[in-house]
């Protein structure tokens, strides 16, 4: 039953997985790391992956691990903000707006990096902090957040993150600007 639900979830939200893994592959290639296996989409968890060697450089690891997360999150927020007004505030019948909302939410729901990748960057962070690497200071709260969400994957925290980003951020922004 869970496998069927997972397959349906992956099929419905596939753009998020594809974009995350495409960005991941792009950044891993930019970091000149060896790539062992790439899967852009599959119907069982993890829905996509790029198996590659880990970099010992903090900068490369930061971008390779958090880059896809940041891009997916930014795209989710942008798509949902573009569609928020007609869908939720004004309730104007606009199928395109719903399409953008679906895209945004699927990107947000698959923003989280793999647990192993997060663990690797987490292990590199104390050393980088000791070297006063500003990127490590920047990454620490992000890493803490992503690790908390990662720990809650069993209760679908990764999905909740996408929904929260797609619904609450535009709502907060609208209320702030109103």
């Amino acid at each position: 039953m869970i496998a069927v639900l997972a397959a349906i979830f992956a099929a419905v939200t596939f753009p998020g997985v594809v974009v995350r893994e495409a960005t991941h592959l792009f950044l891993v290639r930019r970091a000149k790391l060896a790539i062992f296996e790439v899967r852009f989409l599959q119907l069982k968890p993890p829905f996509g992956y790029v198996h590659h060697e880990h970099s010992r450089h903090y900068l490369a690891s930061f971008f390779e691990v958090l880059g896809p997360f940041l891009l997916n999150s930014a795209l989710c927020a942008a798509f949902c903000m573009a569609a928020y007004l007609p869908v939720f505030e004004l309730r104007i019948y606009d199928p395109l707006a719903w399409l953008f909302y679906w895209l945004g939410l699927s990107l947000g729901m698959h923003a989280l990096p793999a647990a192993e990748e997060l663990k690797h960057l987490w292990q590199l962070t104390p050393g980088a902090l000791k070297r006063a690497n500003p990127l490590a200071v920047l990454a620490l709260p992000l890493l803490a957040l992503t690790r908390v969400i990662d720990a809650g994957r069993v209760v679908l925290a990764d999905m909740a993150y996408g929904v929260a980003l797609g619904l609450l951020l535009p709502l907060a922004l609208f209320r702030l600007l109103a």
């Binding site: 495409a22 062992f36 790439v38 505030e89 895209l103």
Partner: protein
């Protein structure tokens, strides 16, 4: 090629032909036996192929006594290593990423059409909170005219009209809507005000009939009652005063103020 001894049977064989179970280097026969023993305990054995650092794990190229460079802990020859470092970036993924950005650009442009309506809604809500009801009603009306089907916006507009004393516009809006899905605080508040306004306007209509029949005293009392019930509509009070000023027995009432005299 390097050789090593099996921990159990002590036979010396090439490392590439050995296995690692639980950190122990074993020959194939001993590894099979160990795996079966573990399975009997109900656990799943974790069997790994032993890696000879002088033999490429991918193609088996032997470098004699010199070790190959390792990638992710695995010894690989130059050719195989290159293969892992030169994984192509498929054209379709690039096209997908570019398409997503193009769609985002379109989505933002498409969304900008609603920004004006959103801004007007926010302004209307702000004016409503500041009790500038007439101005708020104008803004909220424009949001409805932009195609909004939001019940909340509808109720806010009706509320603004009612609190501005503009019963006629509120009536026109309410008469065009027969069904409501909302049942929250806003809905209850609007319905309460609406019922009050309807009752007041019914009384005003009755008062006018009485005034026309030459009964200014009861007409004035009814109009006063209407004005008391719906004080937001200032014309009711003005009309009550006007009827009171009318001499008893006069058949025609004075000309009513522009906003008064509306009926449900």
């Amino acid at each position: 090629m390097r050789r090593a001894g099996c921990v159990v049977c002590k036979s010396t064989i090439p490392i590439a032909k050995m296995y690692v179970i639980g950190g122990t280097l074993l020959c194939e026969t001993c590894a099979t036996r160990r795996a079966q023993d573990i399975k009997l305990t109900g656990k799943e054995p974790r069997i790994e192929r032993a890696l000879d650092p002088t033999i490429c794990a991918e193609c088996g190229a032997d470098k004699g006594e010199t070790e190959w460079l390792k990638v992710g802990g695995t010894p690989l020859c130059f050719k195989c290593r290159q293969r892992f470092y030169e994984v192509p970036f498929p054209a379709w993924t690039l096209v997908t990423l570019l398409a997503v950005f193009a769609v985002l650009g379109y989505a933002l442009w498409h969304g900008s059409v609603y920004v004006e309506a959103g801004r007007t809604l926010a302004e209307g809500e702000r004016l409503l909170a500041q009790k500038q009801y007439a101005a708020a009603a104008d803004d909220l009306r424009r949001v409805l005219e932009s195609g909004s089907e939001s019940e909340r916006v509808f109720l806010l507009t009706v509320k603004a009209y009612l609190l501005a004393g503009d019963y006629e516009h509120a009536r026109l809006l309410m008469n065009g809507r027969t069904k409501f899905e909302a049942s929250g605080a806003l809905f209850n508040e609007v319905m309460k005000t609406w019922e009050r306004a309807v009752k007041a306007n019914d009384l005003a209509a009755e008062a006018k009939q009485l005034a026309q029949a030459g009964k200014p005293q009861p007409a004035a009392a009814k109009m006063r009652e209407a004005a008391r019930l719906y004080p937001e509509m200032a014309s009711l009070e003005a009309e009550a005063r006007s009827i009171e000023a009318q001499p008893a027995g006069a058949a025609e009432p004075p000309a009513p103020p522009a906003a008064a005299g509306v009926r449900r």
